[in-house]
Amino acid sequence: MLFIQLVVDSLVLGSIYALMAIGFTMIFGILHIINLAHGELFVLGAFTAFFLVGAGVNFILALLIAMLVVAILGLIMERGVYRFIKKEAVLNTMLASIGLSLFLQNVYILIFGPQTQQIYGSTETINLLGIIITWQRLILVIIAVTVVILLNLLVKRTWFGKALRATALDPQVAQLMGIDTGRIRAVTFALGSALAAAAGALLVSIIPVSATSGFIPATKAFIITIFGGIGSITGAIVGALLLALAENLAAGYIASSYTNMIAYAFLVLVLLIRPDGIFGRRSF
């Protein structure tokens, strides 16, 4: 009984991790940027949604606006900071992102204060054969799945998606084919940021988020990306679900303090056994 409940809860958590990880892996895979400030994008998405819903805006609309706002922040980050960093030395991007992360965290504390916020929605629950899930969480999974499906359509069926995959495969040849790789990169970063914002907006509807909440989701996104293979969206989804499952089972059968340890254990395991990640295509 507990086991099934934990699995169901993992679906919820996993969907949010998936959104975070897909955004991160896209940015890492296509732009070669390790954006540890990904968590701060997530937090801004959460706060934007929180304030919009507080002002009476419908949740879905708030989610979309949050995604837009953070996409713009992402664009600014990419054009304003990362563009100037030589991305062949991936470590540089990581260092820059740590700086950005610290900076943004403290800006958030200044603007939003250090306390946590949460959208207090309806707490209606569904009871299916003893498994309890709130409507809120169920809707969350549905929205997350929808976003992923839409993203998939974008990547597989549109011109932009083709250009994206071309840039990911080989940027120089893509340029020769007439693709404006600079623009593709900027839009990809914005897209990845929007996904992080979606994760944040969805999460703040079920649990509290504060200015400094970004670090842990960002780290997990990083771990899932390595686990699933850099640049692999499928890998990100599978990795996210597996990580959420492992964390919940550990928390359920051992103790909550083990959740972060499990995440890092995952990372170590993957690096030992399959350094390219499960679905990895490129190695660094």
């Binding site: 009984m1 507990l2 409940q5 934990l6 809860d9 958590l13 304003g80 900071v81 100037f84 700086g99 610290l102 900076f103 965290q105 403290n106 800006v107 504390i109 250090p114 306390q115 946590t116 949460q118 207090y120 707490t123 629950t125 309890i132 709130t134 079920i206 649990i207 509290p208 988020v209 504060s210 200015a211 400094t212 909440s213 842990i216 919940n248 928390a251 359920g252 059968y253 103790a255 909550s256 303090s257 959740t259």
Partner: protein, 390 residues
């Protein structure tokens, strides 16, 4: 262009990366001042409660300074606060106390609200004879270390045991579980409650810990639910409690949570709404609120723009207790004399009537709170419990 941008970013990084030192009002008119260090978590997992305490401290210092300051041997001294943020991290607390002791050379520190951090800073304060008053830390170990320079001016964990057993017995709850924070405060409950409970014939079916930064409690709560307790003894500050109560209402609405004094009932009421929160009961840090508290609330609301709670009363009280001890001792340098003064001090504060035992422990009257018809009602623990509590 790039260089300018890089330079600006670097400077901003340095500024934001520096530990959070927020000094109080600078005093540069040759007035006599007594420096008082203040260490509280102003950011991080327990920032909300930490700021409540710090705000109470700031208001008290402002009031004292505005009425001339404290009088030591006929001279007037203003209080100069030196406030450092512990960011809910022990290493930051250590940075803070080290700065206060070696750099700022303070002899008196107010804080911290977290038992872990208070225990940590005493490692530096005690050998340096720096007097520390914590108005919130409730873990029992703080008065069992033989420290001379530590005073706990706060309701503490041992105080709520008897009431908890009383409540469980009246409600005929024979199987309970405990959900506490994975820190010294939570662990203090785990060392105190089970033996007392078992003696009273109440079985403790499980003990679960949560992390301070944890926001999703569904797994922990589901695990507790699977143990089938009849009641859950909860130790959680408002920062965690609100989410725990909410998620518990969803996952195990039939199992009551009895919070032991870390959470503010008004905030739980706000989050759950009067219907769901009705007849929830808590151990309370303060008893029924009288005129003094009402006056304080007015002042606090004017200064900070929000309603204050017991944690702010505690912060406020701690300053006045220190001030009273300083005046009684007639010195701001000799902490041994101030310590003596503390031991013979009786102070009537917003939380209650304080006096201290030789080990630094406080004598305070315990209280409980419950929510009825959308209002939070407080009473002393030794008064008869409400009728519906069964």
């Amino acid at each position: 262009m790039l260089r300018v941008f890089a330079l600006v970013s670097l400077v901003m990084l340095l500024i934001s990366g520096c530990g959070g030192q927020i000094t109080g009002s600078a005093d540069s008119q040759g007035e006599k001042v007594v420096k008082v260090g203040v260490l509280e978590p102003l950011t991080g997992a327990i920032a909300e409660t930490g700021n409540w305490v710090a705000n109470g401290v700031k208001l008290a210092i402002e009031n004292i300074n505005n009425s001339g300051g404290i009088t030591i041997n006929g001279e007037k001294y203003k209080i100069k606060p030196i406030i450092y943020d512990t960011a809910t991290k022990i290493n930051e607390a250590m940075n803070g106390i080290n700065k206060l002791v070696s750099q700022d050379k303070v002899k008196f520190v107010l804080g911290t609200m977290l038992t872990d951090q208070t225990a940590a800073i005493m490692q530096v304060a005690e050998p340096n004879k720096v007097l520390v008053i914590s108005s919130v830390s409730a873990g029992d170990k703080l008065t069992k270390q033989g420290w001379k320079y530590f005073f706990r001016a706060a309701p503490y964990n041992n105080m709520s045991i008897d009431t908890a057993i009383d409540v469980c017995t009246r409600m005929n709850k024979k199987k309970i579980a405990m959900l506490v924070s994975n820190d010294a405060w939570g662990k203090s409950y785990v060392s105190l409650f089970p033996p007392a409970m078992e003696k009273a014939g109440i079985e403790v079916v499980g003990i679960e810990y949560y992390e301070l930064h944890q926001a999703d409690y569904s797994t922990t709560l589901n695990k507790i639910k699977s143990l089938n307790p009849e009641l859950v003894i909860l130790g959680a500050r408002t920062d965690n409690a609100v989410a725990i109560f909410q998620q518990a209402m969803q996952i195990m609405p039939d199992i009551p949570l009895y919070e032991q004094g870390g959470a503010i009932p008004e905030k739980v009421l706000e989050a759950l709404g009067p219907e769901k929160a009705n007849h929830l009961f808590f151990a309370s840090r303060n008893g029924p609120e009288g005129e003094e508290v009402a006056k304080f609330k007015e002042q606090y609301k004017k200064k900070f723009g929000e309603e204050p709670f017991s944690f702010s009363y505690s912060g406020y009280d701690s300053v006045y207790i220190l001030a009273a001890a300083l005046e009684k001792a007639g010195t701001i340098e000799d902490t041994d004399k101030v310590r003596e003064a503390m031991l013979s001090l009786k102070y009537k504060g917003l939380i209650g009537d304080y006096s201290f035992q030789p080990n630094g422990e406080v004598n305070l009257r315990g209280a409980i709170a419950y929510i009825e018809d959308g209002k939070v009602i407080r009473q002393w623990a030794d008064q008869p419990l409400p009728e519906w509590l069964k």
